[in-house]
């Protein structure tokens, strides 16, 4: 799964327009300078990104960052104030959701409560006037795909949350959409079920190599597990978009570094780093798991005083204050390692390779 290629030169026998058309076909979803406003409130500001066929892009951000608005703009549920939305090369900015050829899965499942599982799944095909003979086999096929074939005659209220979400996914896939939009699909599930469904979504992703997926979440672990690229949203705008690997290891902004992986940002001279430094001003960022406590002065570290500790299952998350600057940093201590005592002053050490450089 790759992002759409840019700057393609025309091969022999093809003019630039032909190449342009080829590139547009590869792009399944495109937002160009899209804004959504309600009166004086800006819900999405000048947002532009593309999603290629077969690619999964996660829109990741805190509440109110504009990620769901961006998804609704693609779906046609929100009226776009300015900009253009394209799906499979068509300008769909002013088209109704019914004519966009998308499938959507939402947090609350939104199954039709009076319809059986099979009727829920068949709804899209019937709405699009599919041939009767085609409906039953297709419904059975997608229900089997999500492991719900045995529940076709049940009503939604007779299913668990995870089962309902599987049905919602099946319903979104029945019409063979070019684009599937997932709006926090796992948020309503308990932790165990969320883990199972994450695996299910990864398997489904592999079974649908041509479908573009846009996955809205506030959970970075879901984004990192499922997405090829992650778009970080903040304050109604796109903060950064890149491959998961690039964003995680080379965060382009301070917010990206802190939101994705919970890094603490420090002044440029606070630590040594083995990473290349940019020309302009920069900051340093270290994730909690990269630190180690030591009672002897390390070659690359900070003098800190322990303030508080939270047990988070596999790690103890220690909050410590840097003696020199007074800043607070988070340090994860493996649960089998003794954590320092509260108010103890010691050293926090970090490998220069784990000190990220963030442009300022």
């Amino acid at each position: 799964m790759t992002a759409p290629k840019r700057n393609i030169t025309a091969p022999k026998g093809l003019d630039d327009d032909a190449v342009d058309r080829t590139v547009r076909r590869q792009v399944a979803v495109g937002l160009q300078n899209v804004s959504v406003t309600y009166g004086d409130t800006v819900a999405l500001r000048d947002c532009s990104f593309e999603v290629a066929r077969g690619e999964t892009v996660a829109l990741l951000g805190p509440s109110g960052s504009g990620k769901s608005t961006a998804l609704k703009a693609i779906a046609g549920f929100e009226r776009v104030s300015s900009g253009t939305v394209t799906i499979d090369g068509r300008d769909v900015t002013h088209l109704s959701p019914a004519k966009r050829g998308i499938g959507i899965v939402v947090q609350s499942y939104a199954l039709f409560p009076h319809m059986t599982v099979a009727k829920n799944v068949a709804f899209g095909l019937k709405s699009r006037g599919a041939d009767r003979a085609e409906i039953a086999p297709r419904v059975a096929e997608v229900l089997d795909m999500v492991g719900m074939g045995a529940f076709a005659d049940r009503l939604p209220r007779q299913l668990s949350g995870g089962q309902q979400q599987r049905v919602a996914i099946a319903r979104a896939l029945t019409t063979r959409p070019e684009v599937v939009l997932l709006d926090e699909p796992l948020s309503a599930l308990d932790a165990g079920m969320r883990k199972d469904m994450l695996g299910e979504l990864q398997r489904l992703r592999a079974e649908l190599p041509d479908v573009a997926m846009v996955y809205v979440t506030h959970d970075q672990s879901e984004a990192l597990a499922l997405a090829d690229r992650v778009a970080i949203m903040r304050d109604a705008r796109l903060e950064a978009i890149d491959s998961t690997d690039a964003l995680f290891h080379r965060p382009p902004t301070r917010f990206t570094a802190t939101f994705l992986g919970g890094a603490d940002v420090l002044p440029s001279g606070a630590l040594r780093t083995s990473r290349p430094l940019p020309d302009g001003d920069h900051l340093l960022a270290v994730r909690p798991w990269a630190w180690r406590f030591t009672r002897t002065a390390p070659s690359n570290g900070l003098r800190v005083t322990v303030e508080q500790e939270q047990w988070r299952g596999s790690v103890r998350h220690v909050t410590a204050r840097v003696a020199e600057t007074g800043e607070s940093i988070g340090i994860d201590v493996p649960v089998l390692v003794d954590a320092p005592l509260k108010a103890e002053t010691l050293w926090a050490e970090v490998d220069p390779a784990d000190v990220m450089v963030v442009p300022q």
Partner: protein, 286 residues
């Protein structure tokens, strides 16, 4: 966390209470007594009256037999059910449409329209046929504008229109309440699946609002079944409903026995409609 070193002092013994508890059944007595006096006693009186003749002499089932085989009574029963059914259907269509527009089609003044509809409920029912008479009567506005209305307002359809105008708000309110609870995300999802507005209304919204629709329909049917003021003030001579017949026989004809039979029949139809509604609701819940 601190350990407790000394046991806390024991709380003082509560002083023996002089109050005595009233048995629960005592609280039921006042409402039961009220219902017995205000509802059951008159009802029993009416039913007892059905077993007498016009001169209040015991008559067994003779009055029942005579009344229920009377062509005028059978015609009135048919007219009553017909007017109630047509009015209910009209109210359901108009009320559901209005509630759908008010709930799902945002437009300036929607709140004012909603309040206006509520105001109609506060009107006395006889105002509606009078208003229709002014608009559509033989010397009404429409007639003066050259639109022939004939004797529409005094026909069965005139009565039905007046009842629809008066009882539609009784459908709008519960339907609006039901639609306000409806998760709009279901509309979004249905739309993304290719469904147009009519299909969404028919297949997604209305089935979810079926309990409210059934409740509103049953209430309207019961109210229109027993409607008297609108029929009387319409002045439709050929539209004789059971309440009109009860009025004519008891007040005009002084035949209280026959009127009591009609009242009992009317009551049984109303209870039957309510029981049917409950059965449908229970079936729907399953």
């Amino acid at each position: 966390m601190t350990a407790v070193l000394d046991a806390p002092p024991a709380p003082p013994e509560p002083a023996p209470s002089r109050s005595f508890s009233v048995p629960a059944w005592v609280w039921v007595l006042p409402p039961v007594a009220f219902i017995l006096v205000a509802v059951a006693y008159p009802l029993v009186g009416i039913v007892a009256r059905t077993f007498t003749d016009k001169a209040e002499r015991p008559a067994g089932f003779a009055t029942w037999r005579d009344t229920l085989t009377d062509g005028a009574v059978l015609s009135a029963l048919g007219t009553t059910v017909k007017v109630a059914a047509l009015s209910t259907a009209g109210c359901l269509i108009a009320g559901t449409f209005l509630a759908l527009v008010l709930a799902f089609v945002p437009f300036p003044g929607a709140a004012a329209v909603s309040r206006l509809i509520e105001v109609v409920v506060s009107f006395p029912s006889f105002l509606i046929p009078l208003a229709l008479g002014v608009l559509l009567g033989p010397v009404g506005v429409a007639q003066s504008l050259g639109v022939p209305t004939g004797s529409f307002t005094t026909s069965l359809w005139g009565v039905v229109l007046a009842e629809i105008a008066f009882y539609t708000p009784f459908v709008v309110r519960p339907m609006l309440a039901a639609f306000s609870q409806f998760p709009t995300v279901q509309i979004d999802v249905a739309s993304s699946l290719g469904a147009g507005p009519l299909r969404i209304i028919a297949r997604v919204i209305l089935p979810a609002a079926l309990p409210a629709l059934a409740a509103a329909g049953s209430l309207t049917f019961l109210l229109t079944l027993n409607e008297f003021g609108i029929v009387l003030f319409t002045g439709a001579k050929d539209v004789i409903t059971v309440p009109m017949l009860i009025y004519t026989r008891s007040i005009v004809g002084q035949d209280f026995a026959s009127a009591a039979v009609l009242a009992t029949v009317q009551l049984l139809i109303s209870i039957g409609a309510y029981v049917l509604y409950r059965l449908l609701m229970q079936k729907g819940m399953r």
